[in-house]
C-alpha cells in the first residue's frame, strides 16, 4: 500500500473535510450568536401554549433558525400525537 501510494504520489485530499467540518461548526456557533439566544425560551413557551390545547411531547417541538442567502427563516416544527392518543 505504501509502495502504491509512493508510486502514484497520491496525497490525501483533505480540503473537503475541512470545508464540511467548518460548515457544521460555524452554523452551530452562529445560532446562539447575538439576538438569537431567545430560541430556548421561545421553545419553552411554545411547549406551554400548545400543551394547553393538546397533548404533545416536549421533544416533538423543534425550533431552529436557518439562513438562506439574506433570508432568515425561523422554523418551528410541531409533531402532533396520533388521534387515539389525544384525550
Amino acid at each position: 500500500m505504501a509502495l502504491l501510494s509512493f508510486l502514484f504520489n497520491s496525497k490525501p485530499k483533505t480540503a473537503n473535510m475541512a470545508k464540511e467540518r467548518l460548515q457544521i461548526i460555524i452554523a452551530r456557533e452562529r445560532t446562539g450568536r447575538d439576538g438569537y439566544d431567545f430560541l430556548p425560551a421561545l421553545r419553552e413557551e411554545l411547549i406551554a401554549v400548545i400543551s394547553k390545547y393538546t397533548k404533545v411531547n416536549a421533544e416533538d417541538i423543534k425550533v431552529s433558525l436557518d439562513k438562506q442567502g439574506n433570508l432568515e427563516v425561523l422554523d418551528v416544527n410541531v409533531v402532533l400525537p396520533d388521534l387515539e392518543m389525544r384525550s
Binding site: K13, T14, A15, A18, K19, R21, I26, R33
Partner: protein, 271 residues
C-alpha cells in the same frame, strides 16, 4: 470624509500586521493621507514591520493619557510623506486603552485631515481587539485557508456585528471585507487546501483579495519594509490589487491559479 478601517482576524499569526502595513502604504502611495495605528498594547510589532522601531518616542497610550500630543507621537513613514504610524505601548497593560481615549485619538486624527485611519488589531477577542474594531467604518478580516483561522474569523465577525458603534447605533453596518492570505494555489489544486471560494462560501462576506504564500513577506519584514514595496513580487501586486478594489476599482483576482513550472524553470530553478 475620513474612513476608519480595522484589520482584524481573531487568530494570531495570519498576517494582520503585514496586511495593515501594506494596505496603509498602498493607500498613501495613491495620494491619500493615511495613519496606521497599532492596537497591540504590550506586544507592538507594527513599528518593526514599517521599519521605524528606532524612531519610537511616544505611543498610543501616552497620547490617551495626555503625556504626549498626537503630533509628537505620530511617526512619518520613510517611504511615503503622507503616511504616519502611531505605535502601541510596549509596557502598559491593555486596560490603558479606554473607549473615550481611543475615540478622542481617532477624532483628533480626523481633524488633522487624515483620509484613512487603519487600525491594526491584536489577535484574540480581548480589550485591545474590541477597541480596534469599536469605531470602525470598515473591517478587513484577514483569514488563512485553514480551519482554525476561518472559525476565528467568523467569531470576530460576530463581535463586529455586536460590539461596534455602527452595530449598536443600528444604522449602516460595518462594511466587511475578506482578505485571504498565505494562499497556495498549488495546494488548493491538489485538494489539500481550502479554496478562496470555499472560505468565502463559509464566511459569506465579500472578498477583497487573495495574497499568495510567498518568501517575499519574510524578506520584507527582515528589512522593515512593508511587503507592498517588494516590487515585482506576487505579494506586492496582490496588495496593490487589494488597495485598488478598496478604492472602488473592479480588479480581477490574480495569483489564484497554479501554473506548472516549465521544463527550463524546473531545471534551472525559479522562485
Amino acid at each position: 470624509m475620513a474612513r476608519i478601517i480595522v484589520v482584524t482576524s481573531g487568530k494570531g499569526g495570519v498576517g494582520k500586521t503585514t496586511s495593515s502595513a501594506s494596505f496603509a502604504s498602498g493607500l498613501a502611495m495613491r495620494g491619500h493621507k493615511t495613519a496606521v495605528l497599532d492596537f497591540d498594547v504590550g506586544l507592538r510589532n507594527l513599528d518593526l514591520i514599517m521599519g521605524c522601531e528606532r524612531r519610537v518616542v511616544y505611543d498610543l497610550v501616552n497620547v490617551i493619557s495626555g503625556e504626549a500630543t498626537l503630533n509628537q507621537a505620530l511617526i512619518k513613514d520613510k517611504h511615503c510623506d503622507n503616511l504616519f504610524i502611531l505605535p502601541a505601548s510596549q509596557t502598559r497593560d491593555k486596560d490603558a486603552l479606554t473607549e473615550d481615549g481611543v475615540e478622542k485619538v481617532l477624532n483628533d486624527l480626523i481633524k488633522m485631515d487624515f483620509e484613512y485611519i487603519v487600525c491594526d488589531s491584536p489577535a484574540g477577542i480581548e480589550r485591545g481587539a474590541v477597541m480596534a474594531l469599536t469605531f470602525a467604518d470598515e473591517a478587513i478580516v484577514v483569514t488563512n485557508p485553514e480551519v482554525s483561522s476561518v472559525r476565528d474569523s467568523d467569531r470576530i465577525l460576530g463581535i463586529i456585528q455586536a460590539k461596534s458603534k455602527r452595530a449598536q447605533a443600528g444604522g449602516e453596518p460595518v462594511k466587511e471585507h475578506l482578505l485571504i492570505t498565505r494562499y497556495s494555489p498549488k495546494r488548493v489544486e491538489a485538494g489539500e487546501m481550502l479554496s478562496h471560494t470555499d472560505v468565502q462560501e463559509i464566511l459569506r462576506i465579500p472578498l477583497i483579495g487573495v495574497i499568495p504564500e510567498s518568501e517575499a513577506v519574510l524578506h520584507a519584514s527582515n528589512q522593515g519594509n512593508p511587503a507592498i514595496h517588494m516590487k515585482g513580487s506576487d505579494v506586492s501586486d496582490a496588495y496593490e490589487d487589494v488597495v485598488s478594489r478598496f478604492l472602488g476599482q473592479d480588479t480581477p483576482l490574480r495569483f489564484i491559479n497554479y501554473e506548472k513550472p516549465g521544463l527550463l524553470q524546473r531545471i534551472f530553478g525559479g522562485k
